[in-house]
C-alpha cells in the first residue's frame, strides 16, 4: 500500500462541481432576496436570474447524472457503514485531541463514509426536492386547473424554500469541513487540480503506471 497523488476528479467532475457551486450560490442569493432576507436585487431581475440559473443547473445535473452512470462513478456515492463510527468519533472527539483523520482515501472510494452518505442524501433527497418543487413552481400555469392548486402551490413553494435552507446549511458545513485536518487549501486543491492523495494497492499502482500514467503525479 502506497500513498500517491492520483487524478480522481476528472475535468468534467471539477467543471460540474464549480459550475454547481456558482449556480447554487446565485440561486441561494437570489432566492433569499425573493423571500425577503435581503433586498439587494430588485424582485423582477432576481426572479429572472433565479429562473435562468435554475435552468442551467438542471442542464448541468442532467449531464452529471449521465456522466455518473456511464462512468460508474455513481458507486463512489453509495453509502457504506464501514468506518462510519470512526469518522463520526473523529469529528466529535478526536479532532479536538489532535488525532489524524481516520479515513484513507481509496481509488474507488474517494469520499469518507460521512461524506458519501451526505452526498448521497443530497443527491437522492434534497436536490430532487429542490428541482421537482422548482419545476412545479415554475410551471404553475400549466397545472393551475387542478383542484386546490393554490394550496398545492403553497405547499410546493414551502418545500422549495425548506430544501433551499437545507442546501444552505450543507454549504456551511461543507465549507467548514474543508478547514479540518490538512487545512483549507489542501482540501480545495483536489477539486482544482483533480489530484488527491490516495492509498493505492500495488496492483492499482502497477495498473495506473502501466495503463494510465497521466493519472499519477510524480
Amino acid at each position: 500500500m502506497s500513498s500517491r497523488m492520483v487524478k480522481v476528479y476528472p475535468r468534467f467532475e471539477r467543471l460540474w462541481h464549480w459550475t454547481q457551486m456558482a449556480l447554487i450560490f446565485l440561486l441561494l442569493f437570489t432566492g433569499m432576496g425573493l423571500n425577503g432576507v435581503h433586498a439587494i436585487l430588485p424582485f423582477g431581475p432576481a426572479v429572472m436570474l433565479h429562473t435562468i440559473a435554475a435552468l442551467v443547473l438542471l442542464c448541468v445535473w442532467i449531464f452529471a447524472t449521465f456522466w455518473l452512470f456511464t462512468t460508474g462513478t455513481w458507486r463512489q456515492f453509495i453509502p457504506k457503514m464501514r468506518g462510519m463510527t470512526k469518522v463520526a468519533r473523529f469529528y466529535a472527539w478526536g479532532i479536538f485531541k489532535g488525532e489524524k483523520h481516520p479515513y484513507h482515501k481509496l481509488l474507488w472510494r474517494k469520499h469518507n463514509p460521512l461524506q458519501a452518505i451526505t452526498y448521497f442524501g443530497l443527491k437522492i433527497f434534497v436536490f430532487p426536492a429542490i428541482w421537482i418543487t422548482g419545476i412545479l413552481y415554475l410551471t404553475y400555469n400549466f397545472w393551475e386547473e387542478v383542484p386546490n392548486a393554490t394550496l398545492w402551490l403553497t405547499v410546493i413553494a414551502n418545500l422549495h424554500v425548506l430544501a433551499a435552507w437545507v442546501i444552505a446549511s450543507f454549504v456551511v458545513v461543507h465549507v467548514y469541513l474543508l478547514t479540518v485536518g490538512h487545512g483549507f487549501r489542501q482540501h480545495v486543491a483536489p477539486m482544482v487540480t483533480g489530484y488527491d492523495c490516495i492509498d493505492l494497492t500495488p496492483e492499482q499502482e502497477a495498473y495506473l503506471e502501466t495503463n494510465e500514467p497521466w493519472r499519477l503525479q510524480s
Binding site: N35, V37, F43, M48, G98, N158, S169, Y176
Partner: protein
C-alpha cells in the same frame, strides 16, 4: 406636379388655420378628417337663441341621431343590470357624494345630455330637440352648460357653468359651425367634475386629462398616444362601450379579429390577452393576467396631474354655523398646484382629499350592486354600509384583482326603517333644501317626498363606503408597479386571499424553520471551530 403646387398654399393655409384654431379654441382631434365642413352649411349660419334650435338644425341632416341618443344611458340615466336585475343609473341610485338626483333636478340635470329635464319622476323630455348635440360635438371650445339650468347653455354672463367657472354668453352659431368628433374636454366637462367638483368623484378622471403629461396618462397625453375618450369608449349608434355598473373585469377575447371591436373599452381589446413581449420576463408577466387586472400594475396611483380627489365626505357635520349664525367654510387641504380645497363646508360637512392616491385592491368580477337598489333598500346601520358592493372571487375564473378608489364617509339614513335616504340639497327658493336652510330634517323629508319613498321622520348618520373601479390615468410602462410592491410582506395585495404570492411569506413557519436550521448549522460549525482552537491551545 402642377396640381401639387397649386394645392400647396391651400395645405399650408389649412395647417396654419388649424394651428391658430388650436390656440384660440378647442384642440384638434387627432385623426379626424371629416368630409364635411359644418361652417359651410347654410342652416348653421344663423343666430340661434337656444340649444334646442341648434339640435333642430342638426337633425335636419342627421335624421336618426336624436333617436339614437335617446336610447343611450347619457340621455336616460337609467340602466337595468342584466345580471343582477337592479335598476341603476343616475336616475335611481344613491351615491356617496351629493346623494341623489331626484329633488335636486335643475342642478344635477345640468349635466344631462339634453335640455329641460327638471323632474326625475318623469322620463327625460321626449321631443327630438331635447337632445344636446353640442355638449359632445362642439369644437369651438366655448359651448358649456349652466350649472343650474337643467342642461341649457348660459345665454348671458350670469351664474356658473357645470365646471364651476363663471358663466359666459355662449355663441351657439359658432358652436354649431364648429362641430366634430368629441375631444377630451367635451366628455370631461361633465365626467371630470362629477360629485360637485374637479376629480371629486372618480379619482382617475379630472381636468388633468384635458392636456395630461405622459406620467398622468400615457394614452391621452399629447406626448403619448394623444388619444381621446372615444378611442377606447367606442360607439355604435351613440351607444358607448364601457360601464361602471356592468364592468368587463377581464376580456378573454382580446383584440378580436378581423378589424376593430365596437363593444368593449377594455385594455385587452387593443393590447391583446398576452400584452407583454415574448421573453422570459414578458412570459412571467403574461402569467399574471389570469389573476391581476392590467389596471392594478399600470395605474400605481390615481389623482395625478395636480388634481386631488375627495376620499372622505362626512355629511353628518353639515349645518354648523359661525358666531354670526352664517354658513362658513374651511380650506385646510393644499393641492400640489397651491389651490386650497374645502375641508369643511356648512352645506356639505367635512372632506378629506388625496393626491397621487394609492388605490385599494379587491377581487372583482365586474358586478356592482347598489344598496339603494337592493330589495327594500334595507341596510344594517350597525356596520359601515356599502353604498355599492362589488363581487369577485379568486376561483371563479372571471374575476381579477382590481384597483379601486374607496370613497368613505358618513351619510344620513332613516333610523327607524333602516334605509338610505334621499335628500333635497339644492333649492335656492325652497325652505327645505339643505344648502339653503342647513336643516337636515327638512331636507330629508323633502327628498324622500320627491323620491316617493316612505320616511319615518327619524334620521341618523351611518358610516358608508363606495367602490370606484380605477381604470384611467394609465402610467407609462416604465412607471408600472414594481414586483416588490406586491411581492413583499405587507405589500399592496396583503389583503387579497385565494392566491399564492411568492415573496410575501418571509416570516412564515416553514421559512422560519429553514432559517433556524441554517442558524444551527452556523452555530454548530462555529462551536466546533472554537472547540478546535481552544483544545489545540490546551495542547501547547
Amino acid at each position: 406636379m402642377r396640381r401639387v403646387l397649386t394645392a400647396l398654399p391651400l395645405i399650408l393655409a389649412c395647417v396654419a388655420g388649424s394651428v391658430s384654431a388650436q390656440q384660440s379654441t378647442a384642440p384638434e382631434i387627432p385623426g379626424s378628417n371629416s368630409t364635411a365642413d359644418h361652417s359651410k352649411f347654410e342652416i348653421l349660419q344663423k343666430t340661434f337663441t337656444s340649444g334646442p334650435e341648434v339640435t333642430e338644425a342638426c337633425l335636419s341632416c342627421h335624421t336618426e341621431a336624436d333617436d339614437q341618443v335617446m336610447h343611450s344611458i347619457h340621455f336616460n340615466w337609467e340602466f337595468e343590470n342584466p345580471k343582477t336585475g337592479q335598476l341603476l343609473g343616475k336616475r335611481n341610485v344613491i351615491n356617496a357624494f351629493c346623494g341623489n338626483v331626484v329633488g335636486n333636478e335643475p342642478r344635477c340635470t345640468s349635466c344631462h345630455a339634453g335640455y329641460g329635464w327638471d323632474d326625475m319622476n318623469q322620463p327625460p323630455p321626449q321631443q327630438s330637440t331635447a337632445v344636446d348635440c353640442l355638449v359632445c360635438h362642439d369644437r369651438s371650445g366655448q359651448y358649456t352648460k349652466l350649472a343650474t339650468g337643467a342642461g341649457h347653455p348660459p345665454m348671458e354672463a350670469k351664474g356658473k357653468t357645470i365646471t364651476g367657472a363663471d358663466a359666459w354668453a355662449v355663441d351657439l352659431s359658432k358652436a354649431a359651425m364648429s362641430v366634430g368628433m368629441p375631444g377630451r374636454e367635451n366628455c370631461g366637462q361633465c365626467h371630470f367634475y362629477g360629485g360637485g367638483g374637479d376629480n371629486v368623484k372618480h379619482g382617475d378622471l379630472s381636468s388633468a386629462l384635458v392636456m395630461p403629461d405622459v406620467h398622468t396618462d400615457v394614452h391621452m397625453s399629447p406626448d403619448g398616444a394623444n388619444m381621446v375618450c372615444t378611442d377606447c369608449h367606442v360607439t355604435e349608434k351613440h351607444q358607448w362601450a364601457g360601464s361602471r355598473y356592468d364592468v368587463h373585469a377581464t376580456d378573454p377575447e382580446g383584440t378580436g379579429k378581423p378589424g376593430e371591436r365596437r363593444d368593449v373599452a377594455t385594455c385587452e381589446s387593443c393590447h391583446g390577452t398576452e400584452p407583454h413581449p415574448v421573453n422570459i420576463k414578458g412570459m412571467k408577466l403574461n402569467d399574471h393576467t389570469d389573476v391581476v387586472a392590467c389596471q392594478t400594475c399600470h395605474i400605481p396611483t390615481m389623482a395625478k396631474g395636480g388634481v386631488a380627489t375627495k376620499t372622505w365626505w362626512d355629511w353628518s357635520t353639515a349645518g354648523k354655523r359661525d358666531a354670526e349664525g352664517n354658513a362658513y367654510s374651511e380650506e385646510e387641504f393644499v393641492q400640489s398646484d397651491g389651490t386650497h380645497l374645502h375641508t369643511y363646508l356648512s352645506i356639505k360637512g367635512n372632506f378629506r382629499w388625496e393626491e397621487e392616491a394609492q388605490p385599494i385592491y379587491e377581487w372583482f368580477d365586474g358586478q356592482v350592486s347598489y344598496a339603494s337598489a337592493a330589495q327594500g333598500g334595507k341596510i344594517d346601520p350597525t356596520q359601515p354600509v356599502g353604498i355599492n358592493e362589488i363581487t369577485g372571487d379568486a376561483h371563479d375564473g372571471k374575476s381579477r384583482i382590481w384597483p379601486f378608489k374607496k370613497m368613505e364617509g358618513r351619510q344620513a339614513y332613516d333610523s327607524v326603517n333602516d334605509t338610505l335616504v334621499y335628500s333635497h340639497v339644492w333649492g335656492p327658493d325652497t325652505d327645505t333644501a339643505l344648502w339653503t336652510n342647513l336643516d337636515w330634517g327638512k331636507a330629508i323629508a323633502a327628498g324622500m317626498k320627491a323620491a316617493g319613498k316612505d320616511y319615518s321622520g327619524e334620521y341618523g348618520f351611518i358610516d358608508t363606503y363606495m367602490y370606484w373601479p380605477t381604470t384611467h390615468m394609465v402610467a407609462p410602462a416604465s412607471e408600472a408597479l414594481d414586483c416588490r410592491s406586491c411581492h413583499a410582506e405587507d405589500g399592496r395585495l396583503a389583503n387579497i386571499a385565494g392566491v399564492f404570492m411568492p415573496g410575501t411569506g418571509g416570516s412564515a413557519m416553514v421559512g422560519l424553520l429553514g432559517k433556524i436550521l441554517f442558524a444551527l448549522a452556523l452555530l454548530g460549525v462555529l462551536g466546533h471551530g472554537l472547540l478546535r482552537v481552544f483544545s489545540r491551545k490546551g495542547e501547547h
